[in-house]
Amino acid sequence: MSQANRLSQGGQIDRSKQINFTFNGLRYTGYEGDTLASALLANGVDIVNRSFKYSRPRGIVASNAAEPNAIVQLGSTEATQVPNVRATQQALYEGLSARSTNGWPNVNNDAMGLVGKLGGPMMGPGFYYKTFMAPASMWMTYEKFIRKAAGLGRAPNENDPDIYDHYNRHCDLLIIGAGPAGLAAALTAANSGARVIICDEQESFGGSLLETADPLNGKPASEWVSQVVEQLAANNDVLMLPRTTANGYHDHNFVTLHERRTEHLADKAPIAHQARSRMHHIRAKQVILATGAQERPVVYANNDVPGNMICSAVSAYIRRYAVVPGQKLVVTTGNDSGYQAALDWQAAGREVVAIVDCRANPDGDLVKQARQKGIRIIAGSAVFEAKGSKRVTGARVAAVDLNAFTLKGDVEDLGCDTIASSGGFSPVVHLAAHTGARPVWNEEAIGFVPGKVKGVIPVGGVDAIYPLNEVLQSGHQAAVQAIESCGYTLTPLELPKATGRVEGKAAALFQVPHLKSTSRAPKQFVDLQNDVTAAGIELATREGFESIEHVKRYTALGFGTDQGKLGNINGMAITARLLGRTIPETGTTVFRPNYTGITFGAIAGRHAGALFDPERYTAMHQWHLQRGAKFEDVGQWKRPWYFPIGNETMHEAVARECRAVREQVGILDASTLGKIDIQGKDSRDFLARVYTNKWAQLGLNKCRYGLMCKDDGMVMDDGVTTCLGDNHFLMTTTTGGAAGILEWLELWHQTEWPELEVYFNSVTDHWATMTITGPNARDLLSEITDIDLAKDSFKFMECREGMVANVPARVYRISFTGELTYEINVQANYAMHVWKALFEHEETYGLTPYGTETMHVLRAEKGFIIVGQDTDGSVTPEDLGMQWCVGYDKPFSWIGKRALSRPDTRRKDRKQLVGLLPSDPKVVLEEGAQIVFDPKQQVPMKMKGHVTSSYYSPTLGQGFALALVMGGAERMGETVFMPMADGTVYEAKIVSPIFLDPKGERQNV
């Protein structure tokens, strides 16, 4: 029979809109306004899942984020699979398809359940560790099976078809939670001119007012909610975000809100370009925390059988969704609130068997109401065991002495199919704890309230304020405080009135004792999702785990997707009792983001795929693309790696490019190098302090290679700096070092030497650089420039200004290849024009574009280092054989100088830069290969250095490498060995790192 548990009237569902959905392959119907959970209950579905460890049948327990059992795998296609969705938070939509996450072959008949039944007694905490300890070699085999047997949902195998995005906002006031306290706050703050954001994790605003029996101003509370929502919607300064969970509270009132934009509509966002969900990043001046309090269940034997629920959930299903989840109800409670479930059940036309109250003399207003309605009340007692396996069939009741933790008197068996329990309320403090403020125990309320966080005001239920009038007041007061502190004025407001209710004092009811001891009684579940029982906690404390943090980790209490929402407080109370301590003494664990699980897509937003990271391009990028270049990532830059022609392999292309540079002329796009413009009368002085070498005598339009060290004496960066004027220099840095070096210069100037008159400005993007290099370079350039290129007019390491292809250019004669080289710099907007102008003479001179791979080979042949490749932050200038670059007698003790006279930096056996020629010319050593002197020594071998750069040289006709070797400078001619992981041992001879043209004649022609 379809929807047997649906009431014909009432609720906030729309009976005119029927919705079809499937669960575990079976078809059902529900209505718009249902959650998947309410629809399943309406259809009389008892078993929604099997538990994590013991595979016990489980039903729906709650009606909100705290639901531990109804965890489903959602999605009707592979690509739209979503694991671990709470059925209580999933709005029902047409065509929704969901499956239990556990249970094989199906939830009703599960094979693992047998294992749980038989092996259960042995599967206490630490079971896996204790049972599968030996042999250790078998663990990986066991692990495969354990992994299959346990677990929740699964990830999809296809790409997510949806998009997700981020939205950044600032506001004066963020109100988290749109129940009575939150709405009162929002109403107060609206019309003050303040920017207000109010969010709620549920589909609509109202919180507890949507399910409460308490009227406001004499009318149903939901009417007031509708009025308020209408008022707020009309206000431009107020942003309302339903379906939005505040999942993380971060430093200084930065809060992440996850808005589910289309999850209530379909598997996939129905409109193009619409994000399925959105992460709002909120920076709020003030935060009002109105997240309410969560009712917790009572712990008793077999409290996990389907049909055991919490009282407020029963009320919610009846009042909000017009669903009565059973026929005969027993309530077990220690407070007045639990009585409401019984009253709602009876008003819905079903039978209330009894209300079992652990208090001796309950007497509040709700108690009186229940008596008036003729409902049987059993005082001083509690349900200590549920009967049934796939559905509750009865409740075992007895008188209870909670202090002595024992049952008294006779047992009464009550026949029923639903047991609703209420152990009390736990403020939902999580967000206040995210930045480390520990929750504080409130004895009066028998619960933890938020610790103090600057800028956060807890109100209503989360601050353990429960009577409705007081809740409304607290929200209002907090808003007054928040808004006035932001400098706005408020318009007076009248809050609605709730009829006050007399409440009896609540009892501290956590676990109910059984006839048998806890360890022998049927399982009493504390954490339903992780199958943690009271006996498990007892075992943990017996084994010596006394800190609540240890108990939690040993038992897995509070792990999983529900993060202990129903179980944590009960778990702490039981631990406290076992250790003979108070709850505050036992303490509480601290919560961290996220409050509820977030799909990874929402965290990434649009920073995915092609937009994952910036790709930086030079002005000649389109030309490289058209020429078929293969690209390499250098930081965020895309640099041409090599330019293959036809079917060339990389090896072939690089060999061709190298030959072209050494024999004709090649061209490299070097625009990515950092360029810093330095102006000011103290420029020279400043350069002398940050570089190792001298600058005092560098003349106009002369270039000099400079080495930069950190103050520990280690090489940090290098580049060529040119004097453009007495007060004007152009510094270049490595591509990767550009931003860091600019900041380095600023650091020293701003914090140590502000008296020096010098300014640093980045011009990296302004200048495009094209490097032509090779014997034909001069002739090529002369085709398109008016600059006098004669050898004695424009010498090596000089700079000239002039026109190149009708564009003003600065040309530098510096060489990284060892050949005749001109680096042509033009304003980037003109660069493509100049580049193409050079290529008009391609045939004549054999102009060959080359990439970073060839660049690496050519410079290595000349022994030129690359900082970060041949150095690693532990290499000094002298280690590199670059004493010629170090000005020891400069007047200022430059950065790095002092550290170079420490005993460690003076050691003779430091790792020094050398060249290596493999004995086998076909071998190209692996970069990073470790070097040893004796290949036959015992493992672990003494490592004497490593290969830093290694290539095949078409010019040398063999592989060659640069390496750092201990005492390398004194070991010329020696043979060293590189043992590899696969057992091969390579041999190479230590040689000078300059393999070609040692006198540097070719760059000087």
């Binding site: 430093d251 200084h252 930065f254 920076r283 600023e746 002092r898």
Partner: protein
């Protein structure tokens, strides 16, 4: 994500516009040559690690690119003050009694 007041821009900005640059008020010795190896190593490598008030440098990397100082509680992460490069802090460990509660 910290909310940091830049004393040059005159407004609060998000933490990802800044970079932390280590302990503040470390002066490079004026005469490094007269420092012993131990003194030089101390300047290079040794830093305070207090539980509580810490004075540290930050740079407004993607904003005004200026360096400034911050007094921050390393336990609560509360930023107590920011002050320009070259200035001294008003709040110090000595001048403020830090509350016991985290």
């Amino acid at each position: 994500m910290f909310h940091i007041y830049c004393p040059y821009c005159g407004e609060h900005r998000e933490e990802n516009e800044f970079r932390p640059k280590g302990q503040a008020h470390i002066m490079r010795p004026k005469d490094p040559e007269s420092c012993s190896d131990e003194e030089w190593a101390d300047y290079l490598f040794f830093r305070d690690n207090p539980k509580g008030i810490h004075h540290e440098m930050w740079v407004h990397a993607t904003g005004c690119r200026k360096f400034f100082n911050m007094t921050r509680d390393t336990v609560s992460y509360e930023i107590l003050e920011v002050y320009k490069m070259g200035e001294q802090p008003k709040i110090t460990a000595a001048s403020r009694v830090v509350g016991g509660e985290k």
